[in-house]
Symmetry: C2
Subunit: 361 residues, 2 copies
Amino acid sequence: MPAPRFLIVADGDFGPMTSKTANSVIRYLPDRTVAVLDREHAGKTVQDVLGFGGAIPIVASMRAGLNLGPTAVLIGIAPAGGRLPDEWRTWLAEALDAGCDLWNGLHSFLGDDPLLASKSKASGRKIFDLRKPPADLPIASGAAKAVEPYVVLTVGTDCNVGKMTAQLQLARELNASGLRTRFVATGQTGIMIEGWGIAVEAVVADFIAGAAERLVLQASDDADIVLVEGQGSINHPGYSAVTLGLMHGSCPDAMILCHQSTRQYIGDYREAAWLRIPPLADYIRLYETMGSVVHPTKVIGISLNTYDMSEDAARRACEAATRETGLPATDPVRFEAAPLLDAIHRGRQAYLIARKGLVTA
Amino acid sequence: MPAPRFLIVADGDFGPMTSKTANSVIRYLPDRTVAVLDREHAGKTVQDVLGFGGAIPIVASMRAGLNLGPTAVLIGIAPAGGRLPDEWRTWLAEALDAGCDLWNGLHSFLGDDPLLASKSKASGRKIFDLRKPPADLPIASGAAKAVEPYVVLTVGTDCNVGKMTAQLQLARELNASGLRTRFVATGQTGIMIEGWGIAVEAVVADFIAGAAERLVLQASDDADIVLVEGQGSINHPGYSAVTLGLMHGSCPDAMILCHQSTRQYIGDYREAAWLRIPPLADYIRLYETMGSVVHPTKVIGISLNTYDMSEDAARRACEAATRETGLPATDPVRFEAAPLLDAIHRGRQAYLIARKGLVTA
């Protein structure tokens, strides 16, 4: 299908810290974003509100947005309360009538809404409910350990520390350098950006690893390097299951550990200040141990998220992470990605030599 | 509700090694099992086929079974191909008409079948689809770490090594000794035996730990000891996510490691002889490390499944496990459970002292 042009719905919650999905789509697909619908900031540009995104307009109504010629309407925020507001339903029906597809990453599926389902049928436009897992997922067989490309998984000290962003940045630079690199999306935002993937957190427990395995096999068809978007954290009480299933299904040859330098406690439990984030070296040991029970793997670099630090403090945080772990460390969005790219190149060379040895032996 | 009296459907697949669900229900609820429906062995007793179960009759038809006065029909095997055979559907409709509830642990839900749903409605009898998770599960909050009872989780070297059976055996003996002990069922067979629980493997990934947490909180209301049925194994590529989510949600104070002594490879991958089962000491380190990132926990004993060994070899396997790990080891079904009961008593004493220290400090 031709690349979609998005009108992003972020009504009432558009901002640098609130509309995570909208913001990621705008950051990575600015040329495919025709407008943002948000009555609060209507009339401004996306740049005015986010500090990036250039002249993309913010409009006050679905009609105004549709007039700019999108081919798809994308839900860019979670509505308060989690339920689809009646007003949004009317807008989305209008969008289907106008010939747009719908892209939705909410837990509730638009395809289950009778009005939208019938509009979709009548207009022939598609509803993509991105959290809806495929019906035929397998139990993991271990097949991902044998794929040809070098597989790198991002792992984290917590949720929401930059595991997707690091991989998108690295994929872009590796592809620019001539290595065929596939990004494997495992969450709704990554799927919106990449156009395919599975939201593994929405998969039934028995099939988490199987979903990761299927994605890696699919990405490996035509790639030198496969970069898998990680989820959660191995010591996050709510999400560690997803993290481990993703590791054991994707069988990474290497991992990049992602951390937000200023964060001290596992995020969702910060109020209780319950679980202090242990040193990076502890995470490296945990991830290497737990990954290697299924497929040998190493942490090869540290990706820091320093968005809330001065440049000076951020540079010092990178140096401290290297001192602490002996591994290359950078903020690949803010600074040069080269330390991580070099680590991937070196790791892949060693992998190819070992693999050739295995093949010829 | 009054305790159900079961007619168990195991048609075509009733036997010591095949009908795992039926056999467990019969082992733990012989007084509540009125008959087994299996045309192949009809006319024999359950004892004739399984080697236990006494005079429970095996009948050749639903009608013959219903005449024995069950209050519920329980699906005791997975039909070949996974789909409900048309013949079974007819039988189950007949059972609803006769005033029986249905208990079903299959992946496919009987409540979704239009015929059975309408029969259920008309007769006022209930369909219990035991793998259907509650709709309102939370993300784990860590609340299970603060419950008063001593929480013990069984963990394993593989699937299907006796994690449920060990806990049922220990629960029975602890209750007999006067300690209020609750068994927490996390799989369909355990739910059938206990009458409540959640099949955590059928829960959407984000809520695995939340489901375990809810079960432990519920069991803790009125108990001195809570015994949680473990699932999968920390190094099983297909099921490790469920294992870890269950650990992090249930926050066990102690763990019992379950192993089938003759098994050498992780089960489902045996043909490929891919993943050799590492030494018990490795599992102890993995489970203690991974559990303790959320709540401090120790392996306090080894539960061996020795059903396929001579008595002599089984005794030697228990001794070897103790030598290897320094922990008490027994087959609690075949031999005395005392070594594990003692370990629980000792662990609980230390837990109560530490807890009292915390409370008074």
